[in-house]
Amino acid sequence: MSIPRSMLTNKPVTESVRAATDELFGEDDPPLFAVVSDLNLNGCYDNSALFVTSQKLIAFDEENGIINLFFSQIKTAEVKRMYGNAVFKITTNDGKRTDILRFTYSVAEICDAVANFINHINSGEDIELELDMVRATYKNMRSFCPKCGRKLSNPDANCINCSGKSKVVSKLLIYIKPQLKRIIFSLILSMGSTAMALVPPYVTKIMVDEILPQSNKRLLAITVAALLGVYIVQYILGGCRAYLLRLAGDSMVTDLKKDIYAKAQHLPMSFYDKTSTGSVINRVNSDTAIIQTFMLRVTQEAVVQLFMLVGIVVIMFTMNWKLTLLSLAPVPIVICISKFFGKKIAPMYRRLWRRGTAISGLLADTIPAVRVIKSFTSEKRAVEKFSRYANDFLSESKKASKTATVFPHIITFMITSGSVIIWLVGGTWVIERPEALTLGLLVSFISYTSMFYTPVNFFANLNDSYQNALASAEKILDIINAEPETDFGKGKNKTGLKGKIEFRNVNFSFDRTKRVLTNVSFVINPGDIVGIVGTTGSGKTTLINLLMRFYENYEGEILVDGKNIKDIDLNFYRSQMGFVQQEPMMFRDTIINNIAYSNPNAHVEQVLHAAEIANAHGFISRLPDAYDTMLGERGVGLSGGEKQRISIARAVLKNPGLLIIDEATSAVDSETEKLIQEAIERLIRGRTTIMIAHRLSTLRKANRILVVDKGEIIENGSHEELMALQGKYYKLIQIQSMSEQVQAEIEAENFEMVR
């Protein structure tokens, strides 16, 4: 039989593959789905595919031919991820391992699903259920915008990139709108001042041709007074205009900054995984300033210069059309050079932006870590690194400035040459035919010519400013256009959480090159205290990240009280959870504000009560400024144990239905440890609690323990059950007990020495 056209596949099966494999499928066992790959087994770009039926798989690539295997011949199927691509490997019942398909990471998720499908079918699972899982993966895979190809957060989501506002200019215009009144008024002022600016050259003509030859002192005084009046009006209008512009510009850029910051708050964690904080800071500060300058140039200067240009050309034509045409001769050349310049300078500005961002990134990295730098006496190294980055910027800036400065000078030279030609031609006419062109008219014309080239020069240089702004605008729009955290459950299911949590076949990877969680399934009942244990990098924190909805691009389902967490209002959902972090984050604010961060409307006595429960009240009240103590950045001034207790106080004040505690790994002395443990005990009472536990004492409080290893739940039960199992948990506890014993001995020795 031929391969059905409607078969589930990631992309159409090519005709060559179809022709080679059509005859391999029987009527009674049609292909259920296919993975169309773009590599052959040798790693070259080529047509290849893997077809799966209910009983067998068929792999084909044009270089290596066909591999046909029944599931009954297969012991395990697995995906081996390598550095640049991945391979689908089959181990047959005789222990032989065979590569059957090589693929780029674009189809890695589907291949994972196929491997699971084969393994599950072989272990007797229901084929329809397994097929549903595969279908879900294909559906997720197809969640791309058909227009721009951007990955959507959900198959039904609208593409934020193609929502009709993607043009840079239209995106930025919305920031101009609120300032429209100021801008329009400023434009009216501009027209006035431009009109005034056009008067003096004409007055020059009258003076040279009429007033001075007639020696009319009275008329001279009146004309000079009028000229002074014109200048006064021109500069008053100009001053008012500049003030209004400044106001409009500052307001625009403030709105833009606010929007970028607000958007940055709602971006998913995956954005921050790939974007440095330095680059975000650069966008909020430097790029908005560049945009401000450009927007003001466009909305104001450009319009003024256009008025000026038109006004001058009209006056010049009425004075002498022949000389006017002569003056306009260099304009096409100026436009051509401007276009050429734009093409040349644009990539330079992009490179300059990269270098600038690298510097911001370095600053964002090193300044907060200045203690680490000092403690390792690495100041010199840090300075050298910064110098290297700064020199890179300088070298790039030199290249850009060479182009950016040479170009305007070429333009200015051409303008000057234009004036010289006018002097030559016009001067000859004044000498030979004074009746056709008077001296006053020539002087006045020359003034207009030099004025005419100011707007021409402006428009020629506008390209430079435009290219620079475009580079910044692109970076700003990267944030403004970025897909925010999805909230398909907005406004839905806002009923108090009882705390039943269920993970159903959850698979997750930060990127396609490495699986972090594989087939994770478990149920936590309301009121359970669950400890999650495992070695570093086993996937404990990722489990919590998914539950907190920091990442949503996982396969499978996470349910809370039977509802998919993606269908619950995001703000409401997170408001129901308390999160005590491993390394508590403090803000540069007072202690009371740091505790009340979880509930800004809390009464002061509620804050005191929360601090008391968290065993923090005692040490806070002994501080000279007590609750008004101003903490430094990231809580500088407090010990690790103190910060942990403030963090617990925050969670107490929030009073969440569901509590997540990522226990600190850093060792604290026994007394502090006891205070923290007491605080945690009070905090978790009566709440569903999930604890990433590192200490034996914490684990003993849990009535359920999940052991995570290499992204899988390998053990699940009570402390006693898992100890009896003598598996991974048993080993971890043994190691933990030994290290705690050693710690206790060290502390006892220290105590003896001090005493």
Binding site: G84, N85, C148, G149, N161, K274, P347
Partner: protein
Amino acid sequence: MQLRYIDGPEVRITAYDRIFVNVEFFGGEVLTELEPRRLFPISGLTKYITLLDNEGNERAIIRNLNNLMPESRDAILDCLKEYYMIPRIKRLIKRTEKFKIWMWTVETDRGIYTFEIRNSFTAIKVLHDGRILILDANDNRYEIPDLNKLDKRSIRLILPDV
């Protein structure tokens, strides 16, 4: 805990699979099905090769491949070649942009291919030795071994992003 280093003459390494080797120490100990991986895949191509077992645990580190016996070195190099196989870009045929997504069509040592780059700032890394590493929107990697050896047009197309 001590890291176990292999300096060279004390082992014989033979291929087990495309990316696995067996290691036989001259003292008699045999480790099977080990996966060689570079500890410095970007900065050190022949030094510090770790050997991982099925569980991903490190069993030994080869200090320098050049100190191994030729057969052993070749066995490791074959595995590394297979594992670290990434297309090397020889020419940039087309570079277009739409909605801030860059589409590159390139000629590589493994054929012609088109891929997307979402954020050129993070996706393109320039190394001090002149190599350029590229990560596409699907997390596939590509390498330009030496920017200056590309044709002028390709350089002109790439320059804004580096």
